[in-house]
Symmetry: C2
Subunit: 350 residues, 2 copies
């Protein structure tokens, strides 16, 4: 996908993501080797090795280029010149963010008792509950180790670490609200969006703001980038909820409609309930009994209520707001790519 209207000339977002994903994958293999105890580290790597788009680390690497006005892929990410020309290992920060994401997925799958993730068994299914809890805990501290090993000046490292720690606390709070909402009838869309901000968007905000911190960008730039991450992160989650309804199970790597079966609150179901749809009974309670035809029918009902369109528009508004937050950055291809990635998050089909 190229986007000639993005303001930075022709940019190829697919290629930008693919190129950086390969570098991130190499860095993960190198920095998280399978050492003793082997079963622990195999479990820690299992989900990372199963794939993933690496959107957050890609965003982090693009921000590094955007805030320093560097040409795309022109510099070594492991010795990336900061605002004063001193080398910073921004790849270590990128791996840190991806490892946090992986830790949260492993623990979330235990909590949701999900069987599949990225088309392979969840870690607690492939290994066992104990090992999955421990693998998540190991990735958690490893992420802090990686964030400490960027070689940035100590005062910047401390700020980056502070943002990372606060972000992790907020992710836990968001997940706790998500669990609480499953048992409540009166959740409104504001509460839902606040939960999404904590559970999902803060990690995008960290991915966007932390490279700016590490490279010595000014406070206004850091805060604008955090705002960009919060907006596109919320849009991403809304799109994720939409994809759970519309993407074939095979492509999704898990049962389509699983959120409906589990009674998860989403922007779609909250809107539908306000329109008088009996959301609880759109699908059977037992995932094993759900047929593709039943999911199709449920989606048609949500379409008819305008709920899918409503969620799509909300996501698009957030993307527009996120792109506006890029304003302080110097013009160039990295900035253009950050804008296109924002669009990509709500246009992607899986």
């Amino acid at each position: 996908m190229t986007d000639p209207d993005a303001g930075g000339g022709d940019v190829d977002v697919d290629r930008a993501i693919r190129d950086r994903r390969e570098l991130v994958n190499d860095a993960i293999v190198e920095r998280l080797p399978v050492t003793e105890p082997e079963r622990l580290y195999e479990a820690s790597r299992y989900l990372l090795d199963a794939g993933g788009k690496r959107l957050r680390p890609t965003m982090l690497l693009l921000v590094a280029e955007a805030v320093t006005g560097t040409e795309p892929m022109a510099e070594d990410y492991e010795a990336f010149p900061d605002v004063g020309g001193e080398p910073v290992d921004v790849m270590s920060a990128a791996v840190s963010i991806e490892v946090i994401q992986s830790f949260t997925l492993i623990h979330d799958d235990i909590m949701d008792d999900d069987d599949l993730r990225r088309g392979v068994p969840a870690v607690h299914r492939e290994f066992d509950l104990e090992t999955a809890i421990l693998a998540g805990d190991t990735l958690y501290s490893k992420a802090f180790e990686y964030m400490l090993r960027t070689g940035a000046p100590p005062e910047r490292s401390v700020e980056a670490l502070d943002r990372l720690a606060t972000t992790c606390t907020e992710i836990c709070e968001g997940q706790a609200f998500d669990v609480e909402f499953e048992g409540r009838e009166d959740v409104d869309t504001d509460e839902y969006l606040e939960m999404v901000e904590l559970k999902t968007a803060v990690l995008y905000a960290a991915a966007a703001a932390i490279p700016a911190v590490l490279l010595g960008a000014d406070e206004e730039t850091v805060e604008s980038l955090a705002g960009y991450g919060l907006d596109v992160g919320r849009a991403f989650q809304i799109q994720d909820d939409l994809l759970d309804l519309t993407t074939p199970s095979e492509q999704l790597g898990k049962q389509r409609g699983s959120d409906l079966v589990e009674g998860k609150r989403t922007l779609v179901t909250l809107h539908a309930r306000e329109q008088g749809v009996d959301v609880e009974n759109l699908l059977p309670d037992d995932e094993d009994e759900v047929t593709e035809a039943q999911v199709d029918e449920a989606v048609a009902t949500l379409e008819a209520a305008g709920s899918i369109q409503y969620a799509r528009e909300t996501a698009q508004d957030l993307v527009a707001s996120g792109k506006a937050n890029l304003e302080p950055l110097p013009e160039g291809e990295p900035k253009a790519l950050l804008a296109v990635i924002a669009d990509y998050l709500v246009e992607r089909e899986y």
Copy 2:
């Protein structure tokens, strides 16, 4: 208990622990308030509120006094003068270490499927599995937040954070070895002690070394204190294993002999097996069927094999080595208390 031979005049270790425990407890309540989402923070506080001796934070506060040559309890721990007289909030570091300990207990109880801890239900029993995983994850990042809020100069904070992150990774590795050992017949005492170093002792090492780092002590002092922590931490775990056999269930807050029932490898059982004791069949496999009389009989068998004495002596040797590591510290009551606390760890009865 007073110990006139400790080299620092009469020191009252019970009072020293009690006084600091109260301050640590106050700091936990103040710094980890029950805010929204309430159930998450109630679960995060539950085990901390249930008690605990606060040995690690007490050790941390004593080290702060010992490395700076400060009179016991004479300075505010929240603005504690470093080697240059600048204030450092060592209480924040003390809370961090205790919160890490609490997180590991919550997740360990899930992994071991233990019902009781400190005489109250384990967090996953009092709340549920989801909430217990999340409470542990929340305490994990909170610990990093607390360690970042000491007000120490950034380069010291970065080193303290690095030690904390590495320590957490090692604790996970130790727990993974512990789980692996349960399924293996050929574990030897060296492997066992290496596992204990990772699972338990490194957190004592962090508690002893980190205040020295934060207050600006020299590298030799920091490493000696880390060595002290490693030694007494291993001794502590061996004593913990002994207490599981010898302390009444009521006082222990959980079933006496539970390690034997679960097939845990301990220094006692590894030694007994080498003496030809059929360790696997000392107790029934089902905890509900175990009687106090059966536990008494099992302990008598282990006594007769010399295994309990062997473990006691190993712990005492480690304590002696740990105390030798205190040598570089300035003489005074805090140093004497650190020596007496080392003895206390292997003399305590629960």
